[in-house]
Amino acid sequence: MPVDTRRVRGPEVSQSPLLFACKPAAVFSSHGPRADGRQRDQVDVRPVFVRCGLVSQAKGSAYMEAGDTKLMCCVYGPRETERKDDTDMKCGRLTTDMRFAPFSCPERGSWIQGSQDKDFSLMLHESLQPALCLHKYPRSQIEVNVMVLENSGSVLAHAVTCASLALADAGIEMYDLVLGCAIRQDGASYVVDPTYAEENGNGSDSSDNQGRLTLAFLPSLNQVSGLQSDGEMTEESLSAGVRTCIEGCYKIYPVIQQALAKAVRRAAPPPSES
């Protein structure tokens, strides 16, 4: 096994205490109310807290909290492309990097970026790219870095929202903001903006119609820029899910708009009367 020589090493093997817990943690059930008191089968998203411009070193940044999910995004650029052979004379390049802090999940993650992180980075890239006016930034690259500090479900959806907010804060020209929303389909019912337990739990007895859906949406253009779904869902529930997600996006839209307006006002205070 290759050892990581660039980090302080601990014991060869260690296991999470969760594996030895006397009583297992509460399981996700497909009936009754949700653990956090939200409504099932309704567009009930968690309240979000967003703030722009927290990182002094970045061109633009945003911090977002939705329930216990906490993430942070920084945007650097536009700057000269790093790899000269990759330079596009007509169009700018968008690079995305999404990572999970090792302490962000119930079980400790590794420092080394796993395949899940890379998948998320790619999906983030695909969801954001259609909203950016990249042709305005020839020969340059725009970097989007997302750090998940605490994973309490629907990470990708919130990462999309947070990243678009940070891009806007950085003053990158965009056609529209990008908002994200996720649902978890469980048999006949669904939950919007699922928590970590709801996302990963296997509550329903039937294994039919189980799936997850994450949607990236451009609200003022009314277009979908990214759609990611896994599991097995019927056609009807998938299309219903897309509609539900769009509704969910509209619910957080005013919060994002306000945060952005606040950041702009702070950066350029309105001219005084005198």
Binding site: Q15, F20, S56, M72, F103, E150
Partner: protein
């Protein structure tokens, strides 16, 4: 005009401030930036803290896992500190494995733990030779504006003070550990090592708590770690301009004062939570 001057000749720009005994951010030469500590914000970690030192922001999450003690030290547990400088925190860091600065910082954290004996490794032992705790202290810099070491040392201390380990019992018959996640108790922190960093500008002027730009232009950096009894647990000066013994004495005096301030701050924050 001022912005242009700063970009064109940063060294001269800083000198013009130092001549007047002040610094570009309005501080006096021996003044630390505003320090804020926030603990327990990450619920997925067993202990966590977020520290802001001016703009510099570091977050630490402590995750405890079960491991077998090493053969050389059967009665001791492990504590594994790692510092990460992701590309998110500043444009000077590239994605990929940690660079020299991050690795040196990780080693410095490990040295502080070992030298100060802030935690007795025997306290982390659950059953001699069979089972012990391994505490992973993962430190992530979210905003890099200089003086990483002070911020990291403080964040780690605060996170360890906040750490509560679940109760574990080894089953006599099966030998398997049984974890009761409901019952938790804190760690016994025996010492409170606090780091204070300085830099030497133009081979002569001493600055306290350097910001990123000051650090870059400085001719030497120095970090002094002191505990509550006034003992030194680390004097780290990785080269640079030579320093006389008297000068060193002066810095140690300042570091001792800082230790008291920070110790009080941590106590206040811990009390406010309980």
């Amino acid at each position: 005009m001022a912005a242009g001057f700063k970009t064109a000749d940063p060294l001269e720009y800083h000198r013009s401030f130092l001549k007047e005994n002040c610094r570009p951010d309005g501080r006096e030469l021996h003044e630390f930036r505003t320090t804020t500590v926030n603990i327990g914000s990450i619920s997925t970690a067993d202990g966590s803290a977020l520290v802001k030192l001016g703009n510099t922001t570091v977050i630490c999450g402590v995750k405890a896992e079960l491991a077998n003690p090493s053969v050389e030290a059967t009665g001791k547990g492990f504590i594994v500190p790692n510092v990460d400088l992701p590309p998110l925190c500043s444009s000077q860091f590239r994605p990929g494995p940690p660079g020299e600065q991050a690795q040196a910082a990780s080693q410095f954290m490990a040295d502080i733990i070992e030298s100060s004996e802030m935690l007795q490794m025997e306290d982390l032992c659950i059953e001699r030779g069979k089972l012990c705790w391994s505490l992973y202290c993962d430190l992530i810099c979210l905003d890099y504006d200089g003086n990483l070491l002070d911020a990291c040392a403080l964040t780690m201390l605060a996170a360890l003070k906040n750490t509560r380990l679940p109760k574990v019992r080894v089953n006599g018959e099966t030998g398997a550990p049984e974890v009761d996640l409901g019952k938790r108790r804190g760690l016994k922190i025996r010492r409170h090592p606090v780091a204070a960093s300085f830099c030497i500008f133009d081979d002569s002027v001493l600055l306290v708590d350097p910001a990123a730009e000051e650090e870059q232009l400085a001719t030497a950096r120095l970090t002094v770690v002191t505990d509550e009894e006034g003992r030194l647990c680390g004097v780290h000066k990785p080269g640079g301009t030579p320093l006389s013994g008297e000068r060193l004495q002066e810095l140690i005096g300042r570091a001792t004062v800082r230790q008291k301030e920070i110790h009080r701050l941590i106590d206040k924050v811990i009390k406010s939570i309980v």
